[in-house]
Symmetry: C2
Subunit: 83 residues, 2 copies
Amino acid sequence: MNFKATVHIMPRPGILDPQGKATQTGLHQLGFSGIKEVFIGKQISLHLTAENEAIANEMVEGACRRLLANLIMETYSFEIEKV
Amino acid sequence: MNFKATVHIMPRPGILDPQGKATQTGLHQLGFSGIKEVFIGKQISLHLTAENEAIANEMVEGACRRLLANLIMETYSFEIEKV
């Protein structure tokens, strides 16, 4: 079975996010003064094949923990859908 | 009113995604051979204040078009929620 997983990786609250700060400054300079805070993370789309949804889930969980997310500085979540 | 917007920015289909390819290779080397394709984009969380949801929507749309997304290479979508 084929699945598509969408993984969301964000900096943990309180962790310095210099890319977010720089973007916020850029937005203010463009006149978007209503935008108060900016946090930048990653969105990763995975296409995978697995026997069933439970195995796909385990595979994505493992990929997040072992490679995709830095658990010290980031949190992750994901959804899986059958395609 | 305060809003939180979540912006999803992904490489357009067909655009070379070297970061995705490198991640895919890394996942295969770790034994995740079921993961066939990897696409890496950005997820941006914005906290903003605006008079109403329509104005907040317009603000986020403008921020995406003018700074956050590179429309030649990327597509974007977003949700807004009142906080």
